[in-house]
């Protein structure tokens, strides 16, 4: 339907055309992307892959017309959507971003979808029928009055998809739409994308997506475009051909390459085991103003030299369990005891706690407290009373081990996603804790950082450290976990797949 609107505009429309496109952000030495030539035909389904730093997100924003020339130090080339410069074609492009919580505008679901139509100037009497049709198109299971705050991450992302599709875009751009979701949420969102574009008003829509879980996205597309950092398009073709030609090189660069072409999953190695280090007894917690407990009566013990994986859906209470085990939250009932101490962990002074327990948060930025990466590694030891010389030696060793030496003087907030993750882990290892608690450590990481994290955990465990990892990442749990625990609705259950 969109193609017919500008069919009169000459040659059969190319949906998206980039010529010599390049963009360098103000304050950056390197180009985010450069020399990109790319044509997308109407109705094509295209996945953009490349190592981190290849400029995938920048390219998506350029197509969506959301790059502000004022934020660029230099830019070159052209980006046309339906033959019109992208900045003037915003109405033709729908976009879905990583974090649905920061992309929803209104408090009621229907109002949120209607928002994009109000901006288009659609007459009010046409708005609600189109909202209802968009709800049906993405399989949104609630009515218009459903509060957006009451939706799960996957449902919020489906709502955001409805908000993009309701404007009947000729190009749909997805920027890692499942990055914040658990496996169930990922499946529903990608399912909604695929069925929304299967027929009806979505059939002619061109799809351009970046998705770091390439394995789940590959089934949705008929074309894969490989971007190289600063080097434009390195390869282009059907998924099987591109991954067949370049699978190994892409995997080595950190791209998640899907199953037949990627490297095999790492095998499970078991830990040496040891005495019980941590005992959790009857832990319960209900957050203020919550209707039901986040966790009820959880019992658990963790031994030295073992790794425990805690799995469960979003909102199941597994992160609460991690915070309680790490002594960072006071439970309503019960206690966590470490290594024979009488005083429950949540009542330890922070400086004592950081010497024995390290916690890696889901978002590394939450943990940064220093001005440089190296200072970040000195904070814990200083608080724990480690001698300055010893702390400095340990900091340099950790920087070396986690490939951060080059960045020792950099501000932690300016690092890339993988570097931030490695730094946040290194900062917790600086005090050589006996227990390492990790909340979604592999979340959003590329294949290379993922493998490094796994090796690091295996090494720590071999040296006697106990590890508790809360994770959605089945491959990570499969490779590392000596024991598995699942949490559902705040209730803990030992998994049947316990390895002894």
């Amino acid at each position: 339907m969109t193609g017919s609107a500008d069919g009169s505009g000459g040659a059969r429309g190319v949906a998206v055309r980039l010529r010599g496109f390049g963009w360098r952000y103000a304050g950056r030495k390197a180009w985010a992307c450069r020399g990109v030539d790319l044509d997308l035909e109407p109705g094509e389904r295209v996945l953009l892959v490349g190592p981190s730093g290849a400029g995938k997100s920048t390219l998506l924003r350029a197509v969506a017309g959301l790059l502000d020339p004022e934020t660029a130090a230099e830019h070159e080339g052209s980006v046309l959507v339906d033959g019109v410069p992208a900045a003037a074609a915003r109405d033709r492009v729908g976009m879905l971003l990583q974090d649905p919580e920061s992309s929803l505008v209104m408090s009621r679901s229907g109002d949120d979808v209607a928002f994009g139509l109000e901006n288009l100037g659609v007459p009010p009497e046409h708005i609600w029928p189109r909202v209802d049709a968009a709800f049906a198109q993405v399989g949104f299971p609630y009515d218009r009055d459903r509060p957006t705050a009451a939706l799960s991450g996957g449902e919020q992302q489906r709502l955001a998809l409805a908000g993009a599709l309701v404007r009947r875009p000729s190009v749909l751009v997805l920027d890692e739409p499942t990055a914040n979701l658990d496996p169930a949420g990922t499946a529903t969102v990608l399912g909604a994308v695929s069925s929304a574009l299967a027929g009806g008003s979505g059939a002619g829509t061109t799809l351009l997506m970046v998705e770091h879980r390439v394995d789940v996205a590959a089934g949705l597309v008929d074309r894969v475009v490989v971007l190289e950092p600063g080097g434009g398009v390195a390869d282009d073709g059907p998924p099987a051909e591109v991954f067949g030609r370049r699978g190994a090189a892409l995997a080595a660069a950190g791209v998640w390459v899907p199953a037949p072409w990627g490297p095999p999953a790492p095998p499970f190695t078991s830990g040496p085991g040891g005495d019980v280090l941590l005992t959790a007894r009857d832990l319960s917690l209900t957050y203020p103003r919550a209707r039901r407990p986040a966790l009820s009566s959880a019992w658990l013990s963790v031994r030295r030299g073992t790794a425990v994986a805690v799995t469960g859906t979003n909102g199941s209470g597994k992160s609460t369990l991690a915070m309680l085990l790490a002594g960072l939250l006071p439970p309503d009932t019960g206690e966590v005891l470490l290594d024979g101490a009488d005083r429950p962990l949540h009542r330890w002074r922070p400086r004592d706690l950081c010497r024995r327990v390290g916690t890696v948060f889901q978002d590394p930025e939450h943990q940064f407290v220093a001005r440089t990466a190296r200072d970040e590694l000195l904070v814990g030891p200083r608080r724990a009373g480690v001698a300055a010389g010893e702390a400095a030696a340990r900091a340099d060793e950790l920087l070396e081990r986690l490939r951060l030496t080059r960045l020792a003087g950099a501000n932690p907030f300016t690092l890339s996603g993988g570097e931030k993750r490695r730094l946040s882990v290194a900062a917790m290892l600086a005090t050589a804790p006996d227990l390492l608690v990790m909340d979604e450590p592999t979340f959003g990481q590329d294949a290379r950082t993922w493998a490094e994290l796994l090796n690091l955990c295996v090494g720590l465990r071999a040296a006697g450290t106990a590890i508790v990892a809360v994770t959605h990442d089945e491959a990570f749990a499969d490779a590392l976990a000596d024991e598995r625990v699942t949490v559902a609705g705040g209730v803990l259950a030992a998994d049947a797949r316990v390895r002894s």
């Binding site: 924003r61 969506a64 959301l66 915003r90 109405d91 492009v93 729908g94 976009m95 971003l97 920061s102 992309s103 929803l104 505008v105 209104m106 408090s107 109002d111 928002f115 994009g116 139509l117 109000e118 901006n119 288009l120 100037g121 007459p123 009010p124 708005i127 909202v131 509060p147 957006t148 705050a149 955001a160 908000g163 993009a164 404007r167 915070m323 790490a326 960072l328 002074r349 922070p350 400086r351 706690l353 950081c354 010497r355 327990v357 390290g358 916690t359 948060f361 930025e365 939450h366 943990q367 940064f368 407290v369 904070v379 814990g380 608080r383 724990a384 907030f413 900062a427 917790m428 005090t431």
Partner: protein, 268 residues
């Protein structure tokens, strides 16, 4: 959802709860402005009585209201007591004398008047805010008062982020504890940790705000030349009547206060 983001159950179909948000705010603000001018028990008392009688019409249950308002009640008692103790009008019979503390009939009356006045100013605002949906307010501001959509809906979206920031504040506190920070007796160090936590919250807020702005622009918010509205706010006769009633009550209260000689403007 209401502006206070409470879980107070209100009946949206109640006669006053249904009114246009702009009308509600006007009806609540006008008498309060007048009360700011004078400190007397008559006008405050009359208006407070009128607001109390109107509570059921706002669709707000008494038990829920009292549960929400106890901090305000406590503040009122403190205002009344403070005024009673520290006023320099100490005429009348002595009621209580303990060292420098002197409570007389006149000072008690002064205190009660002060408490009454604050209650009469605060209650209508609370009733209005408890029953206004922020989306309706933004719609009404844009449609009736010609407030720019960019401002109204931008604020609305930012407002939606508030609970997310509250959750982030908690996480940042835990993250600092995990790093060995906090729990200091030294106030300078405690202040430094708090400052760092605030800064991190600010960084997160700016980032979320930027993402939100991109998401809104991706749906054509910035480029919108002729925006329509999916929800039409109506300004009916009942809304006019609400404002008129509020004006009438205020006039009645002031007239009675002047007639009884109680009216005492602050600036005279």
């Amino acid at each position: 959802m209401t502006l206070l983001q409470t879980h107070l159950s209100t009946d949206p179909a109640a006669p006053l709860a249904r009114r246009n948000p702009v009308a509600k705010l006007a009806a609540a603000l006008l008498p309060s402005l007048v009360l700011l001018v004078s400190v007397d028990p008559v006008s405050s008392g009359l208006l407070l009585a009128a607001w109390l009688v109107s509570v059921p019409a706002w669709g707000v249950g008494w038990p829920g209201l009292l549960r929400r308002l106890w901090p305000l009640g406590l503040a009122l008692v403190m205002v009344a007591l403070g005024n009673a103790v520290f006023t320099d009008r100490k005429g009348g019979a002595t009621l209580l004398e303990a060292g420098p503390l002197l409570l007389t009939a006149e000072s008690l009356a002064t205190g009660l008047t002060a408490g009454l006045r604050v209650a009469a100013i605060a209650l209508p605002g609370v009733l209005a805010i408890l029953t206004i949906d922020p989306v309706d307010l933004a719609d009404a501001l844009v449609q009736h008062l010609r407030v720019p959509a960019r401002f109204a809906y931008g604020s609305l979206a930012a407002f939606r982020l508030a609970p997310l920031l509250a959750a982030e504040w908690e996480v940042l506190g835990r993250a600092r504890r995990a790093r060995g920070l906090g729990g200091d007796r030294n106030p300078a160090r405690a202040l430094a940790v708090l400052g760092g936590r605030l800064f991190a919250l600010l960084v997160g807020a700016v980032r979320r705000g930027t993402q939100l702005a991109v998401a809104m622009d991706a749906r054509g918010f910035a480029a919108s030349a002729h925006r329509t509205s999916a929800r039409r706010q109506t300004f009916t006769r009942a809304d006019v009547a609400l404002i008129a009633g509020s004006v009438l009550l205020t006039a009645l209260a002031v007239t009675t206060a002047v007639a009884t000689g109680a009216w005492s403007p602050l600036l005279s």
